[in-house]
Symmetry: C2
Subunit: 512 residues, 2 copies
């Protein structure tokens, strides 16, 4: 009998009608039933007369299934066993503790993301290089686009197109003129009713590669950087595309739905469009994958009930993740900063901060109970920039982000939240508070304090804790990635610091 | 015949009654008349039966004077000649071009200030060391207090007190308990009706030293850091003090009136008090020295007509001088950031940023048409911190501030203002603007552009200027203090940059 692990992908493939236009003229659905759930999902046409239905079981045990529709006159049925999840499979990521995230098995998920918009549209060789880089474990989320990208440093053709047809001639494009081709350019000839299964098959292979590495695939379904007209399809084509994408990808446990990158600069789309897409996802995705939409200058209303978390971009050149607590409070959802400028040196203002500054922004998000995202944009002789193309990393921040993630994983319970902590400051003269992150879970209150000083460089810090308990204090150099014991204290804690930037202090109650 | 240079101090000293309390029981005024002005000012009692009246002439030529009052039965009269100002004497600093400052002879004044709150209350040896440091020319303004200061790192006795009397016993003060003595502590015995002329004489000697060095004395008349009760005098004593201070100091051309440091944490003072002090200055200072008041958390209403410029403190840990243009626009006055955190490593959150960060804040103010102030707070074995005590500088920022000042002095006309400059950005793809500083004076528009990138590190920048004129482009490393010619351009300017932080570009039209 067939088996699949819990939160794995169970796929039923069947031959069916190949005449007319199978993408629109025939239907296929599957119903999957176990002791604890019955789920009906759409299948999809995968070309060459082949139809598929995918299902992600959420429980162990025996399941039956039935696949039906106009695709074939012979309905299909069968059964399979869902086994225990394998090591590293914790299920889909869910919102937890209001502002945080956890896998479905309650393992905390501390998001450290990166962005490689169109890494799956590059040569197979480059994609393998990207996978090799990702295997180093710097990140547990990656944002990337289903559609190819047209933008500065992004003029080459993708390896495949999402639809049947032919693209405009791009040989005339140069760095000097390429913006004349923004939007739906003449010269493109696409049949939006016929998807290119090769494109989607290659794409979902990468979703699966990421899944096996334990990396969440934050899928950008629409985006504005376009010379093919994919950003300007009519509503009917858009909706067909949404349904196809959901039918193909939803069964991968690591999928997140990002409706768009910079939705607000997609001039042809209205708020009603975005809300309609959201409704399609809510109706068609039976697994309730995380859903958000990423903005440029104008934030989406993250209070909308279908949005699971804020997917933010800095809206100010100088204030970024320092605003984390403010947004968390406003939207009452996890705050994920998917763009806070990238480590690099390109001309664009969002792509040339230092590794130090990027890591500082990660930490500023962290101690306010939020999460940040990485990107890298160093000039490259062949225009291979991690931010779009993947490949190799050249910057200093990834190792530090991994170090931060290691510290985050040592949080008691799930998630940190900001608190004010009075600085003892000798005689309490003109006392003020430091921002400190403490565990969200009440059971751990008073047992764990994480302080971060950013570009402030105090030579020492004093805090007054209670006289009853012992606290172990560590000095963390977030840039040098060292953790040094400063001692064990009762009552007044005095910590000497090196007077350097990017230092943190961790205080943990000693359990006897 | 007596002579004095224009904007110098002409002093008439005369013996008078020494009985009763000469500070309150006798009066003295002087009237000084030249062809272009007649000025009446109050004199003051300087102890030992000696009265003085001081006058700062604003015109060259012949003057007469009369001194009268109840101090003596014999009025005094005489005449003197006002000669041309000596080299380096440009007169008092005035507001110019709405947001900027110039000496009265129209020489631009680009403020680069520092803060040494109580340097004049330290030992003579330390004061001389401070003067030696100031002589190096890093700063052209210094903020300091008439009254002594009680605060963390500031527990020692001043060399003199402003009033007759005796202070509380401070030998019991430690870094652990000193805040129990905040405010008007018991144990102080002062006669607020009797000033201590020695205190004021030493103090004004320093004003004069600064004047001779071309440094503005931004005098802080009241402040809250107090164990002697000077911050909590009654209105009558306050007003007497204001009159005395003005009578003594106003004739020094380099005096600025800062009503208070952090006025909003002086709990015993009301808005009516501050406005009353302002009225006294406006009535009694015939020279219209610059007037402002410095805040802590709560800004003063800088729109008040008596305020000549904004004396700001950062009100956010992360946003400081980036807000310059916003405040300039709001208040329509020069914006001077007198506290934006100090270079150093002490525990206090305002006293431990790096030299790089402080200099960055100076430049961010500069390119938005404002001015910033320095301070230094490095831990010191004897608690000698420049910010309060003066002495030697240990930081990296002063040389860079001097370098910035040199560049500011090369501004055509008077003052810079922010403008948006489209980044050419190759094909104008997704174009945005850089902030650029340009001359305020219309005659120089289009001839001078100063761009600053702060922590952004673009590898290149392109701008589109006109094809008619030639422009010389320089790359400025604001930290390394180098200025390198990048070439001369027409039309499109392409500038390669080193991909480092703290770079600037200067573009100047070539005049044929």
């Amino acid at each position: 009998m067939d088996t699949v692990e819990k939160w794995g992908v169970f796929e039923v493939a069947a031959n069916g009608h190949a005449d007319k236009n199978p993408f629109v003229d025939y239907t296929i659905q599957g119903t999957f039933s176990g002791k604890n759930e019955t789920v009906t999902v759409d299948g999809f046409y995968d070309g060459n007369g082949m139809y598929k239905v995918r299902f992600m079981p959420s429980f162990e045990g025996e399941y039956t299934y039935k696949v039906s529709g106009t695709f074939s006159e012979e309905p299909i049925a069968g059964n399979f066993t869902v086994t225990a999840p394998s090591k590293g499979n914790h299920g889909p990521v869910r919102v937890a503790n209001t502002y945080h995230l956890a896998y479905e098995d309650r393992t905390p998920y501390y998001s450290v993301g990166t962005t490689c918009y169109v890494w799956t549209h590059q040569s197979e060789e480059l994609q393998q290089k990207t996978l090799d880089t990702l295997r180093k474990g710097y990140f547990n989320k990656i944002r990337f686009c289903v559609f190819p990208k047209h933008y500065d440093y992004n003029l080459r053709e993708p390896i495949t197109y999402p639809f049947e047809g032919t693209p405009m001639d791009s040989s005339v494009l140069t760095k000097e003129n390429f913006m004349d081709y923004e939007g739906a350019a003449e010269g493109n000839h696409w049949d939006f009713t016929r998807f290119n299964p090769v494109h989607f098959r290659l794409f979902e292979k990468r979703i699966q590669d990421l899944m096996e590495m334990g990396i969440e695939a934050d899928l950008i379904i629409l985006h504005p950087y376009d010379r093919w007209g994919f950003s300007e399809m009519d509503a009917e084509s858009d909706d067909r595309y949404w349904n196809y994408v959901i039918a193909r990808f939803a069964a991968y446990r690591n999928v997140w739905w990002s409706l768009a990158n910079e939705f607000d600069i997609m001039k042809k789309k209205t708020l009603a469009d975005w809300e309609r897409y959201a409704r399609i996802i809510c109706e068609r995705d039976p697994y309730n994958h995380l859903r958000s939409v990423h903005h440029c200058g104008q934030q989406y209303d993250y209070k909308r009930p279908w949005i699971t978390h804020c997917s933010l971009q800095r809206i100010d050149r100088h204030q970024t993740t320092e605003l984390t607590a403010e947004y968390a409070q406003r939207f009452q959802k996890p705050v994920i900063w998917d763009e806070i400028a990238y480590e690099g040196n390109i001309n664009h203002c969002w792509g040339n901060i230092s590794g130090q500054e990027l890591v500082r922004r990660f930490w500023e998000a962290t101690i306010r109970g939020g999460y940040a995202g990485h990107g890298e944009t160093y000039m490259h002789p062949e225009d291979i920039l991690w931010w779009s193309h993947g490949g190799e990393l050249h910057g200093d921040s990834p190792e530090r982000i991994k170090f931060l993630h290691r510290i985050l994983c040592e949080t008691p319970g799930l998630g940190l939240q900001p608190m004010s902590m009075p600085v003892y400051n000798r005689s309490n003269a003109f006392a003020w508070d430091d921002e400190v992150a403490v565990p969200v879970d009440g059971a751990y209150r008073g047992t764990y304090f994480l302080l971060y000083f950013g570009y402030f460089r105090p030579a020492f810090r004093e805090y007054l804790l209670d006289n009853e308990n012992e606290y172990e204090v560590e000095v963390i150099d977030t840039w040098e990635m060292t953790i040094k014991k400063a001692g064990t204290f009762k009552g007044k804690i005095h910590v000497d610091l090196p007077g350097k930037e990017y230092m943190a202090i961790r205080i943990r109650k000693v359990e006897h």
